[in-house]
């Protein structure tokens, strides 16, 4: 596989074209975070609903490149129904994986593993992590409230 094919894996393009859990809700039980990358215009909003320490649902919306938009969809599937602690462990290790640092490879990253290709494109790491950052804030806010 060449570098570009490795970056734009089928899984990623599929999430980009057919995003899961897309569209925001008015339900006030959801915590929301909106992040905008001023340099490129990527714009992501993540909403998560946490109950009894478990991430019950994740919604997302926004505009941006395929790497950015697809990763919001991917995380919404991967992290749903996981305890907050576990979801945060995924997020933390995902960020390390993208940054080409040692990470916990025993975690079952499923579709998110496809983003390994981003490591070869340092200019695109922000695209791959912005949705995850937004997700982290939505569940960390929940922590503070408790």
């Amino acid at each position: 596989m060449n570098r570009l094919e490795n970056l734009y894996r089928k899984i990623i393009m599929d999430h980009y074209k057919n995003p899961r859990n897309k569209g925001l809700t008015d339900d006030t039980r959801y915590k929301q975070e909106h992040i905008k990358n001023p340099s490129c215009g990527d714009d992501v909003t993540i909403q998560s609903f946490v109950e009894d320490g478990v991430v019950k649902d994740i919604r997302h919306d926004g505009s941006g490149c395929s790497i950015c938009c697809s990763s919001a969809s991917v995380l919404s599937v991967l992290l749903k129904d996981r305890p907050v602690k576990e979801a945060l462990a995924f997020s933390e290790n995902y960020t390390k994986m993208i940054a080409n640092q040692p990470y916990d490879e025993t975690l079952e990253f499923e579709d998110a593993l496809a983003y390994q290709g981003v490591r070869k494109f340092p200019a695109r790491t922000k695209c791959a992590t912005i949705a995850w950052k937004a997700f982290e804030s939505t569940v960390k806010v929940e922590d503070n409230d408790e």
Partner: protein, 402 residues
């Protein structure tokens, strides 16, 4: 223009086999400018204005020589040239030095949706502080500022007109001389953002008759972090400084202080001396080429790319009629960041994003665009590389299902 021989003047190409198409963001630096930067540090390195010893005196002479050359470059006078950190800083100086103390509630500032954030946000802020109102020239269907549309928003409340001379996204030239004449008929002051025009067009401030004009050294082969504010002598004399300190003061005392005459009044602190000194070489380099030859060269490259793009179905060009060397485009259905990664793989450097012009992106109805901009060092071969790579991106993303 013998483009190939010019590439040799730019050491960046010794190390990088790139097609550099992002001059609208910043230009590359020729050897002569780099040489002058190091020459200053190797042989002078002393401060300006302050020392009476030989080295400082010589450094001051070099510094002033660039001020003189800059003045001649735009047909201004020596005292009308203020060095700043860049065009942004120069425009902020006009907004906060002139605007803040001359605007009142109900006054109007005319700008446009074509403005770079640097000629939009300072005015938005000053309007907020003074109670003045920001008014936008309605753009033509193509996205141009036209004289009639300008006249439709000009009135006796207009106090300041701040417009871009050449749009950094569309590349259109604003009919600034006619606009200035109209603005003056209402006694409004005209501030021109020339960041994208000074590198490509012969500017004559006496002919335009504008009150202020700002541009950046780094977009015209000079060092980064240096800009120029031209202001009519009378305007600069009546304008408040924004920064106070050493060098700008005439007498400082506990009972009050007085300022130096312009331009020093606006240049407090030790300036970027090496950059100013080296900017001289950038001006010389451009003058040796000449703006007529430069324009011809840029037009040839632009036309070549436009012709090729018109044969690629999914490429949409937003500014086909532009008079300057800038092509702003997208591949339909593909985000510009995804495209630019494919181009980057082929060592083509060009800009994807909103180009610090979010109001214009909103006007165009897109989140971002790609922009190829041409300059002295570009060649038809660079254009071929761009065209091939864009074709490749079209195919690649089509196969990926976009």
């Amino acid at each position: 223009m013998e483009s190939l021989s010019l590439k040799k003047d730019f050491p960046v190409f010794d190390q990088n086999d790139i097609a550099y198409l992002d001059t609208a963001a910043t230009s590359l630096t020729p050897r002569s400018v780099i040489g002058k930067l190091t020459d200053y540090y190797n042989n002078y390195s002393a401060n300006v204005h302050r020392g009476v010893y030989r080295l400082s005196h010589e450094a001051t002479e070099l510094y002033n020589a660039t001020r003189e050359a800059t003045a001649r470059f735009i047909n201004a006078e020596f005292e009308e040239i203020v060095f700043t950190r860049g065009a942004s800083s120069a425009l902020n100086l006009v907004a906060f030095g002139y605007g803040l103390s001359n605007l009142n509630p109900g006054d109007e500032i005319i700008i446009s949706e074509l403005e770079h954030h640097s000629n939009f946000l300072p005015w938005q802020q000053v309007a907020k502080k003074t109670g003045a109102k920001v008014v936008y020239v309605p753009l033509s269907e193509e996205g141009r500022i036209e004289v009639e549309a300008f006249a439709s928003v000009l009135n006796e409340n207009t106090k300041i007109v701040a417009l871009t001379h050449v749009s950094n996204v569309m590349g259109y030239i604003t009919p600034i001389k006619a606009i200035t004449e109209l603005a003056h008929s209402q006694n409004a002051v005209v501030c021109v953002d020339a960041a994208q025009s000074a590198p490509h067009l012969q500017i004559d401030v006496k002919e335009i008759d504008c009150d202020f004009l700002a541009f950046s050294s780094h977009k015209m082969l000079g060092p980064k972090g240096l800009g120029v504010l031209y202001g009519k002598k009378k305007r600069l004399e009546n304008m408040e400084p924004v920064e106070y300190g050493g060098d700008m003061v005439e007498t400082a005392s506990k009972d009050g202080s007085t300022w130096q005459a312009p331009p020093l009044k606006f240049e407090t602190g030790t300036p970027p001396i090496a950059s100013v000194v080296a900017f001289f070489e950038a001006l010389r380099y451009l003058q040796n080429i000449g703006f007529v030859a430069l324009k011809e060269h840029e037009q040839r490259l632009k036309k070549y790319v436009l012709d090729a793009f018109s044969n690629i179905e999914s490429v949409k060009v937003y500014n086909p009629t532009s008079e300057t060397g800038m092509v702003t485009f997208n591949i339909e259905g593909v985000h510009p960041h995804d495209v630019v990664t494919v181009l980057d793989e082929d060592n083509i450097a060009l800009r994807a994003g909103h180009h610090c012009a979010q109001p214009l992106m909103q006007w165009l109805g897109v989140v971002a665009t790609l922009r190829a901009s041409f300059y002295v060092y570009n060649t038809l071969e660079d254009c071929d590389r761009l065209i091939e790579s864009v074709k490749k991106a079209v195919t690649f993303f089509k196969e990926a299902g976009l």
